[in-house]
């Protein structure tokens, strides 16, 4: 009983101290450093999984938006590994509770983002829930791993405090640099320093394409798409809550369907693709979302643009960011988004 009390008290204290986002998931976004930056008006906040983090560059977006709008703009990329509609609500609303909300939020997504059976949903739930969510999410759990995820807020405080006091959050200096100087993401533009960091990043991950072909591509269908549910209480419900919150805050929301190489795309069954498109259309109709589907733009064969089969490299990211700026972000910010 005392242990439970202590664990809950620690989670509450850690949340109050502002270190709730010091979690095992420090990659791909240093959200802790984002929370330490001054509260300036943000034009575009990008959210999504690691794909969004690699595919969309905030500094690239700012370069394009500043030209188009003839003023300085500020964009950030807050993408997290295996993000779903669940954390879209929980993380973004908690981050922008005490800060000025962004004018536009762009969700960079793939089919897994809307899936209630996402193979890593337990992590998304466990790391982005509050203590008062525990009973409800426990009841909504479809599996043992999700039940453990639902219970995680109880021990999250002790975990975060231990990671923080061990200075774990300072170990990935590159992510901190990206967040402080370029609004996060994995690639930046506009300086020699960025060219060097982009090259260094892609060189460090040069073996990833082959590695992906040998592992992720082989297991993708069985691991990610053997079941696919878009209307569940955690992911679908979270997305609904997020879109209602955005409407209340007068934040425009745009969706980018991120590109896959053909080798990955082939692993996605047709019924999953149909369900994904159907859900997007329904969301678009209900909430007036503006959707930019990159998949239809011939990205499937361009090997030179990819780091692996479902993440872009620096060249691909620069091109996609420019496209997203012109087709989505710029029209939304200049008043033609709705």
């Amino acid at each position: 009983m005392w242990t439970l009390f202590w664990a809950i008290a620690t989670t509450l204290s850690v949340d109050a101290l502002g270190i709730r986002n010091i979690q095992p998931v420090i990659w791909p976004t240093d959200i802790y450093s984002f929370e330490r930056t001054p509260d300036t008006e943000i034009d575009v906040a990008i959210y999504g999984s690691s794909r969004a983090s690699l595919d969309l560059s905030p500094s690239g977006l700012d370069a394009c938006l500043s030209d188009g709008l003839d003023r300085e703009t500020t964009s950030v990329n807050l993408g997290r590994s295996f993000a779903t509609g669940f954390s879209t609500h929980n993380l973004l609303t908690s981050l922008f509770e005490k800060r000025t909300p962004p004018k536009v939020i762009i969700l960079g997504i793939g089919p897994e983002f809307l899936d209630e059976t996402n193979h890593r949903l337990h992590l998304d739930v466990g790391l982005n829930s509050d203590l008062d969510d525990v009973p409800r999410q426990l009841l909504q759990s479809r599996s043992i791993s999700l039940a453990f995820g639902a219970l995680r807020p109880i021990v999250r405080g002790a975990e975060s405090l231990a990671i923080f006091t061990a200075q774990r959050h300072t170990k990935e200096e590159r992510l901190r640099w990206m967040m402080i100087h370029h609004g996060g993401g994995q690639y930046c533009v506009g300086s020699k320093a960025c060219e060097i960091q982009n090259n260094s990043h892609d060189s460090a991950l040069v073996g990833r394409w082959d590695q992906h072909l040998a592992s992720n591509v082989v297991t993708a269908e069985a691991e990610r798409f053997s079941e696919y549910v878009t209307d569940g209480p955690l992911v679908g419900g979270g997305l609904d809550k997020f879109l209602k919150w955005s409407a209340e805050k007068d934040i425009q929301v745009g969706v980018v369907v991120l590109p896959f190489h053909e080798l990955y795309k082939r692993q996605i069954p047709m019924d999953v693709r149909r369900a994904f498109r159907g859900k997007l259309s329904a969301l678009s109709e209900t909430y007036g979302l503006r959707v930019y589907d990159v998949g239809a733009q011939g990205w499937g064969q361009r090997r030179a643009m990819y780091l692996d089969t479902d993440h872009l490299n620096a060249i691909g990211s620069a091109q996609l960011t420019q496209d997203v700026c012109e087709k989505l972000a710029l029209p939304m910010l200049s008043g033609n988004g709705r």
């Binding site: 095992p24 420090i26 990659w27 450093s33 001054p38 590159r174 320093a193 060097i196 260094s200 460090a204």
Partner: protein, 106 residues
């Protein structure tokens, strides 16, 4: 030492252990929270100072190198970064974090 004395000493140790352990644990916990509070303030100042210095100089320092295998303990990352960390160490090297370049901070 005679048997009654040894028993007495053992009893005293047990008594003090029981009495002190709880308060010590609470003190450690409060100390960790207080330390965390100080560290958060320090980190906030550091971020602001870094942004201000870069803006004033008009140059960016080079980015620290990407994480290399073995550079960070992957086991506790819960598999999040697993695939991205498992790369060839020979392909990435450390860079100077202080070498200036030619662009203002954002």
């Amino acid at each position: 030492m005679s048997a009654p004395n040894a028993q007495h000493t053992e009893g005293r140790i047990r008594y003090w252990t029981k009495t002190l352990l709880g308060p010590l644990a609470v003190l450690c916990w409060l100390g960790a929270l207080l330390g965390a509070k100080v560290q958060v303030a320090h980190d906030t100042e550091r971020v602001e100072a870094e942004r201000a210095t870069t803006a004033a100089l008009g140059v960016l320092p080079l980015a620290p190198a990407p994480i290399r295998p073995g550079g960070l303990d992957n086991r506790t990352l819960a598999g999040q970064m697993r695939d991205f960390h498992h790369v060839d160490a020979s392909t990435s090297g450390p860079q100077s974090p202080h070498q200036p370049t030619d662009r203002k901070t954002r």
